[in-house]
Symmetry: C3
Subunit: 398 residues, 3 copies
């Protein structure tokens, strides 16, 4: 696809209406998205709780690239392309592990945790080790959230870090504990998931459990009084409350909103499911919601943090990786059980995955056409605007 | 593929010889076939026996389109594209069901059975409901056989209806009962199935059960006397007997031919497998064979009707949906059993599916070349002629 | 892909460094490889031990072509495209069998073992049988090794036959017995397998069993004295010892090298696993290694022969077919067991398959770049040279 064919699709976009079919279904658009968005912006990879000790690593498969995220000797977080500089073999074969150094399993070239080449056996004397380190990947750590960028010059991350710091610091992610992970492989386009997570027009019928937990989610109740009262309360406790909205071209968002009075956590019965996390002393912190485009969603309550990493595999194939974090001192079987901890988001998430898959099947129709968003879907319009703007920029740069 | 590349393939066609390889194996040809044939002609979807009551529906997946076929309040048959006019979600998720109205599971927009938009909650006052009904699909019902067309202006269907009426009316499909359904997913091209079903050159060795049931099918016996005698008999009983052959550019066919004397039904033992269907009083009506290009084949005996719906998924992938219909009053376990009812066509069909899959594997060879059809394959030549003519018309229209 | 796009990839090749990514991952390169290499050179299909009796056949699927390799009435070996000249159906449906003649299962056209059309029933009198034989495939048999070529004019095979004859004749393949076959379907590119099998830089760590059996394989020991001593010994016994190296543009290779003193066979314990094969009287013949580009590898010890047939299915998909041959008089359970016979190459091979799959996953990275081969990988450089030369020739011929 050349710019000429992308242009009419971009021009057809009408604010307040959905995207043209090609944006959801065409392989060529998918490839342009990797170029214009996914290889340009910051991608959530995991948290420092995934790699607590020096030498701990995990790998993240982004498009054709396996990325190694590894803790350095002094607690630093490094990210490297997982491809040996000798014959290109994958170096880390497992999804997670701990290594003294990174050794290629093929011919045993050995790299330091910072990616520099430590040893390449049986190479000639004039071999230039210094120029054969692992290719580096940009990394930023925001209060324990690890973001990587495959870009040459990624966008500035400073505002994300500073905006998120007051929200995230009480959670003490660096000392948190990964309680559970679960992945889903969905037949849908990643943007349909993004749209789904930016509106509650569907919540009333689709998410009874969620609507039980969150006042106003059904769009029938008013939550204004509760919100106003809670905000004063949170401020008095020193909790951050100022919504960080998507501004022109920014790619991050934060909000704190209340649970239904009497509800203590995101749980099926409204009761707490773990001990308060980090600096939290009670179950009073409401919900902290974060979004970083294009692939990060987080919802945290006082007793646990739930992160969602979205990875597009193809126009019709998206992988979702979910992680539940609890306080570092929480003991499974004593302070929490996996079932109670994960019930709420497994139930609610699986409702969404089904909606998103059915949405995709209908969008494939030859007669699909962009429809009008409802007023309650205004945040979806903002996402779609952001997306179209990125694609326009990409098309112009070419 | 542009017209320039299709042209040489069309020009290479020599009547009496097979098609060039590309017609069977190329993705681009497959896409042109949907454009020039499958989205232009009438496709068999099912029968009114599939949706006896108001609100009964079934869905048919044709290429990327899921189509809803639903009974209206007064017994009408409607067909709609299964994609919501709001965000495009699939509306009917199941293959069959009954609904008071059609409600999208995502945001609960509600459509009437005729496709008009009944309600869209929380939309602005100035939202134009009238212009947001489901996209309609053309439907024709010929004595209970439901055909749909995805074309803007489908070809005239009147002659099919009038030609078929005398043949079909005794079967009373509208009151018939669906006894059994079975689907097959085959690794073959749809045209190889069409060719297979237009000749009996292969029957003698491949279909011993079929040759037992049908006199002359082995191409070694003469059936002329039996046919002549039967025709007089059928006419006297008021049964339609005049063959409707494929004429220039027509796309439908009907024939009545005799079973071997003493054979009462398409069954492995030659005995009846159900009670006579509709107006039939005995097992004397021979076989009624119908074909509507590109996707409908039917063989009916006095006691049951067998329909075959062919759906191409890709150049090398075709789905076959078979349905067995019996008289509305036939009771399973009393008047028929599923095994005896379906044995004959499961055995015979599966012999054909294997031939068609092996045919495809050989056609993929780099040295495949069109071979000469045998004189007994003359009807295959007619099909191939029809096909080439449709592709030529399509190429010229572009 | 046109020559313009292949050219820069070819130009980027720097001797002593790996191939550009596209050569491993691009579908278009894969298709050019079939054109420039796989359909031009000789492909190992199997051995005469696979088809000992007249009428014995096996099929080999090479790209879209199923090829029938069959023993004629007088012991000849014929190869035919497995596609009927009538409607194109596959003729032999099984991977192996014995047939009096080749009969198409669709309409029973019958071909002689030499491919000529014997009978086509119910065809018109003027049908020209003589011009409807099966399309032939070139065949060469080198002391029992069967090679086919899909080329119009394959390269001269005479030097392969004459070079191999002194090495192979003691094995008496024509009278050998197929003891075991095993296939692997790998997610890797065929050239990564070829490269893997042309160097022992990886052996020291990856192949402990192999290094136990072969002196010097770990690149730490010197094997020169042993080799020199053995060569004299072998010559005295009349065994061929002169290495046939890849010369400019040649595509075959042969070498005899010693096992570690005291080791009698390729086995996990170093002991013999079968009786000496063919004319061998003891376990003293070392290892005979043959390679014929692009798809044949063989390693034979005194008591068994191990052949490897490589078949690329796609850029990222390769099938490996392994066969173990033993002496015609060896009796399973008495002279050998399948486990002991196959342990060594199953263990060693599976170590390699894993390395080759991991190599491919890393080569897919957006940051993969050709790295420098080590001095011990000099034979890999020769293979890559040969490959690039073939692709250049192909590009120029177009």
């Amino acid at each position: 696809m050349n710019a000429l064919r992308l242009e009419p699709l971009l021009s057809a976009y009408k604010q307040g209406w959905g995207l043209e079919q090609a944006f959801y279904t065409q392989e060529q658009i998918f490839e342009l998205e990797w170029k214009f968005i996914w290889r340009k912006y910051w991608l959530f990879a995991g948290t420092t709780a995934d790699i607590p000790k020096a030498g701990d690593y995990f790998t993240y498969q982004a498009n054709n690239d396996s990325i190694i995220i590894i803790r350095g000797d002094k607690g630093e977080v490094f990210a490297h392309y997982n491809t040996c500089r000798h014959r290109g073999s994958l170096i880390c074969l497992e999804e997670r592990g701990n290594v003294p150094k990174l050794m290629c399993p093929y011919h045993q070239w050995v790299y330091n945790r910072d990616g520099s080449l430590f040893r390449a056996r049986l190479m000639p004397d004039d071999f230039d080790k210094a120029s054969h380190g692992l290719h580096p990947v940009h990394v930023k750590v925001a209060n324990g959230l690890i973001f990587i960028s495959l870009a040459k010059n990624p966008p500035d991350f400073a505002k994300v870090s500073s905006d998120y710091s007051p929200f995230l610091s009480p959670y003490k992610i660096d000392q948190a504990k990964v309680a559970y992970r679960k992945s889903y492989s969905l037949r849908t386009n990643w943007k349909l998931i993004a749209e789904n997570f930016r509106e509650c027009y569907h919540c009333g019928v689709a998410h009874p459990e969620y609507c039980n937990a969150v006042i106003g989610a059904n769009l029938r109740e008013t939550a204004d009084d509760v919100i106003a009262e809670r905000r004063v309360h949170w401020k008095n406790k020193g909790l951050a409350t100022e919504t960080v909205d998507f501004e022109k071209d920014s790619f991050h968002f934060a909000i704190r909103y209340p649970l239904r009075p009497g509800v203590l956590s995101y749980s099926l019965d409204g009761k707490a499911v773990a001990k308060p996390m980090g600096d939290h002393k009670d179950f009073d912190a409401g919900v902290l919601g974060l979004v970083v485009y294009p692939n990060f969603w987080m919802d945290s309550v006082s007793d646990y943090m739930w992160t969602m990493r979205v990875t597009p595999i193809g126009p019709s194939h998206t992988v979702i990786d979910l992680t539940w974090l609890v306080d570092s001192h929480a003991v499974e079987g004593v302070d929490y059980t996996i079932d109670r901890l994960t019930d709420f988001w497994r139930v609610t998430g699986e409702q969404d995955w089904e909606l998103c898959e059915n949405n995709f099947r209908g969008v494939e129709s030859s007669r699909y056409q962009p429809g009008p968003y409802a007023p309650s879907e205004n945040d979806v319009v903002k996402f779609v605007d952001w997306y179209i703007q990125r694609m326009r920029e990409g098309a112009e740069e070419k």
